[in-house]
Subunit: 347 residues, 2 copies
Amino acid sequence: MALSGGRENGRTRDPQPTINDVARVAGVSKKTVSRVINRSPLLNEETRKKVESVIAELGYVPNPQARALALRRNFLIGLLHDNPNAQMVLNFQEGVLEAIRDTEFALVVRPVDRHSPDMLEDVRKFLEQQRLFGVLLLPPISENDALAELCRELGCGYVRMGSAQLDDDSHIVASNDRDAVRAATEYLIELGHRRIGLVAGPDGFRSARERQEGFLEAMAKHGLACGPELIARGSYTFETGRAAAERLFEANPRPTAIFASNDEMAAGVLQAARQREISVPEELSLIGFDDTPIAAHIWPPMTTVRWPIVSMARAAALKLIHPLDAEKQPAHFLSDLVRRASVAPPP
Amino acid sequence: MALSGGRENGRTRDPQPTINDVARVAGVSKKTVSRVINRSPLLNEETRKKVESVIAELGYVPNPQARALALRRNFLIGLLHDNPNAQMVLNFQEGVLEAIRDTEFALVVRPVDRHSPDMLEDVRKFLEQQRLFGVLLLPPISENDALAELCRELGCGYVRMGSAQLDDDSHIVASNDRDAVRAATEYLIELGHRRIGLVAGPDGFRSARERQEGFLEAMAKHGLACGPELIARGSYTFETGRAAAERLFEANPRPTAIFASNDEMAAGVLQAARQREISVPEELSLIGFDDTPIAAHIWPPMTTVRWPIVSMARAAALKLIHPLDAEKQPAHFLSDLVRRASVAPPP
DNA sequence: TTGTACGCGTTATCAC
DNA sequence: GTGATAACGCGTACAA
């Protein structure tokens, strides 16, 4: 009579009831319970109600590990990133969690070190060991094609976040950084700026390249010169932004505006300007990229390009979760310019 | 002959070899393989070597879902937080990941909304559904005793991060905010400041209370007055910091120094000062708390209290993973003052 | 529409 | 030391 897992007496404090308990109490087979859980259409309405009430009464929750074993796939989605910037990572997590809210999916995070020679091996071990449903790749490591290839080889789903079309639409969610920066630069030009400096991002970053090209396109389109003295490269950090600004300030005549390829470098530019007593925006206009909190919290509040990372993250997660409808999720997102106080017409 | 899971021909691209495959190839039982994996001491050295070589050859990796099912516990540790601040969350993740590197544990993140009336129910659902090994609680939700009680009820391990002794040593990793703030305040006093304002944190936050009391202790110890006109409350955001500063500036005489209970509010204070053309540090000294990136990136670079969050996170994770040795991990950490340019003697 | 029997990959029991 | 055999909790053929 007593099925496995059954405990007839009220003594044992239930270590989570199982599907067997539900079946026994409801007086049906385990399979029927399983059908109720998985919303099988061919099911007598009465038995469904009965089973559902027993489920509620017992507080039954399916064991995800057992499900994973039987289905030969689990419900964990991984977030692989190389900490491009804390706020961005967290915003991304937020978007993913919006997408998987009220599903059985969970998000596991995994920072990786893109400079480590065995980064790829580390990721492989991680994927083999955890057998994730799929992974989300954040820039800059999302630009690594070998990583995508590894996922394919391991049969692990993946979606990449990027600044451009890096993969087919079912595997990418991209912002169009080039267009956004072109528009930001044209905004400066329309205000009357002619000498505009660029703090470019590091070599090897696709985002850096896209942003630089957007900048150059705008300058070229308006016939503005943009020699090497107007371009300085940083590595997306505050300090390199400061150093890059120092170099741009040497240009003669000095630029009246600077576009920095991310906010952190823009903050560095601002500090360099302050040390030289160049006032922003009166003597120097400044635009950043990312709209991280720092942009709004420094003085003057900084004009910057905001990309809709939460929506992008949500779309990426949905693509991953519903591989068949992956193409229904938008693959391209537009960034917009957040106008604050760091931009003014040239002196 | 052919055991389950065996594929004798080279045709099928192996969807991960199982323990059965290893056992068959090595010519032993799967229990023996299991013993090798779990480093059972009673094992013939020869058979161990043989099995190990087969494991390597086949590239066998144990399936964590199957292990979880058999062991009735998985190897997922959860991070519950209410985004106190992006950098802090990410630093915490970093510390946890240091601790679980090269283990089979993985980190799953779960933001919660502490303002939602059914926060507790959400967490309960999450824990029941995912059946985590244990969870790490970040402030401010770590201060919620009902949450800790819930974990105990559900048999889910937990470790809380806090600003004070909130739980017994095996369930807490705490910084001593009170001492740190007292020291920071005394630093101001030693420089000669007598009128010192406090931007306190929000009601209901233990950290806010601890920091406030540290401040008051220092003031009292040196016989300094600290009336209500010298205390303004904010809610740990930039904007409330700015507003609090406005109120403090009304005090007569105006304070020559301000301690803000976190960096974000301190940045708000700085902005308010700038709008009033009160120069920092010449006319106003300022100290923050947390040492988030913004502290170093604003102007002037800000003196602040840094707590060793990465080490704390590591300790918390180790406590969770090794419940028996939990007490061996330190439960208390000291914060230190990072001296930058926002503090000077009073005018 | 519902139930039976078995598989998923691992660990635990208890013989040998 | 080692190996059958039975759990663990759930899903799927296939039969009823």
